[in-house]
Amino acid sequence: MSTSVAGVDDVTASEPSLRRFLAGLPGVDQVGAEARAATLATRSIKTTAKQQALDTAISMIDLTTLEGQDTPGKVRALSAKAMRPDPTDSSCPSAAAVCVYPDLVSAAASTVAGSGVLVASVATAFPSGRAALDVKLADTRDAIEAGADEIDMVIDRGAFLTGRYSQVHDEIVTIKAACGRPGREPAHLKVILETGELATYDNVRRASWLAMLAGADFIKTSTGKISPAATLPVALVMLEAVRDFRLATGRMVGVKPAGGIRSAKDAIRHLVVVNEVAGPEWLSSRWFRFGASSLLNDLLLQRTRMLTGRYSGPDYVTLD
């Protein structure tokens, strides 16, 4: 795809120009995208390459708990696991971040402080996003004040699907402005597109561009509350978008598939797609993340299997 953005400001200047730009993005070849993802998924990653892929995947995990039943105790336990995923092996990398609801950010932040593991918080009336802008802003500020390093916001899918692109754009810009932290660099903003509700790959591509134009640091597939969540073709379309966005503007944006990635095999397939579509520069936790909870256990089991030469079992990892 070759899209040249003459100037981001021109595109986002008005509702009609934004709509013209997004409508002018080339459509996604659905069959082609799914076939490409399926082909890449057959790549065989073995032995030392697999070991490296497993460690890379572990270091990219946003270890997530977003349940009504979450407690500070559970969040502290999860944070401890993020810092030291395999307590028996100090060579195991730590996860990238823990991802929790805003009211539990302080519990996570106090546990991971100084460890290099970041704290991500969902905000803006997660997961539906159905609240007034004031409420969303207050939600975001709460999380920042409690010590969140990253904010995972949801877009207003209703507005997007009815074509009110400016509203979605402006909301992202406003939340981004609220991510500022006095004396430190602003919290990273991940924008959740909830691709399961966007219906088409064309919409995924448009929403990705819209979020990036509005200043997103990361684009994230899903809340994890809707099925289907992250699928390989969706990740592929979003990785194409970040690649093209960098070609057009020079700015690099990260991608975070979340929800539904449960096996190490799935994770490695995603890494192959990252490498082939966006490029090896994206193969770090700075530019690619997995939003997951049970994935980490499977990665650890596979890692143990590689290191010990025998199969491990669910008795040897934590119940989260």
Binding site: G309, R310, Y311, S312, G313, P314, D315, Y316
Partner: protein
């Protein structure tokens, strides 16, 4: 049209994992011959990854099967015996071919196999009375010891007796609530796969029994070292060095191990000796009164 004009409908033998019949992940097969050396069938040759998949299927099925009431398990296993009876002729043909028996001898073997299955099915709601106990303790407590299933049991089935031997080592494992991964007789795998078809069409939940055809010297070490397998029965291992190696590998997570030949399965009354090794004892202290 004469009979010889019909095309043969050849059967594709596969594995039985998690209630489904997949081909081996490795794509490999081997040839099975009858007792006279005539080609019988191409059979799937299980790999270590098939063993891994079988163990995860067995783990998934464990909660449901061990949580079912003993009465229910007994009924389900009796239903299997009914289905075995319905396939009697097929089993007789396969035992005749594989073990080189005459028809009457093969008929006897199949009858013994079905009878043994029924016999074990009856133990489902009785083993706790025989193997459990009410304990006299020095305090105001009702104190009970109850047998509970160990978990996943990997079994190397007897190599010579491909049906009766298999039934004699498999039934005692699952009747108490364990789930099983069985490696069948290498050279006589067909009755085991027919048994798998019986299990798939009776009420046994998928994953409770997983059947792998293939070389136990290849798959056995992976099952023996697998940290999520809780017990291993070496009934069909004839090489003493391999038996020792498997037992050593099994020690890493303290698997319960049955050595080759003990306790004997090829006897008229096997008693409870093949059930009890794969049971754990839970003791409950219950305060009396007030």
């Amino acid at each position: 049209m004469s009979v010889s004009d019909r095309l043969d409908v050849r059967k594709t033998y596969k594995l039985y994992i998690g209630g489904a019949f997949p081909r081996s992940e490795s794509g490999r097969t081997y040839e099975a011959f009858d007792a006279k050396g005539t080609f019988l069938a191409n059979v799937a040759r299980a790999s270590r990854k098939d063993a891994r998949d079988a163990v995860s299927a067995a783990r998934k099925a464990f909660a449901g099967w061990s949580g079912a009431t003993p009465y229910n398990r007994g009924q389900v296993l009796y239903r299997v015996a009914e289905m075995l009876e319905g396939r009697r002729e097929q089993f007789i043909a396969e035992v005749m071919a594989g073990e080189g028996l005459r028809r009457s001898g093969a008929g006897d073997v199949v009858d013994r196999a079905i009878d043994r299955w029924v016999w074990y099915a009856g133990w489902a709601d009785k083993i706790a009375q025989v193997h459990g106990s009410a304990n006299a303790v020095a305090g105001p407590y009702f104190d009970f010891s109850l047998p509970e299933p160990t978990g996943i049991v990997a079994t190397i089935a007897p190599q010579e007796s491909s049906l009766f031997g298999l039934v004699s080592v498999l039934a005692p494992v699952i009747v108490t609530g364990n789930t099983a991964v069985v490696v069948t007789s290498y050279s006589r795998p067909l009755p085991a796969m027919t048994l798998a078809e019986v299990l798939a069409t009776s009420d046994v939940p998928g994953g409770v029994v997983n059947v792998l055809t293939g070389d136990s010297t290849e798959v056995g070490p992976w099952l023996a070292s697998h940290m999520d397998v809780n017990g291993i029965d070496l009934a069909g291992v004839s090489d003493p060095d391999l038996a020792t190696a498997l037992e050593e590998a099994a020690a890493d997570n303290l698997k319960r191990v049955l050595r080759p030949g003990l306790p004997a399965w090829d006897v008229a009354d096997p008693g409870i000796h093949r059930m009890t090794p794969f049971l754990e004892t839970k003791t409950v202290w219950h305060p009396i009164g007030v």
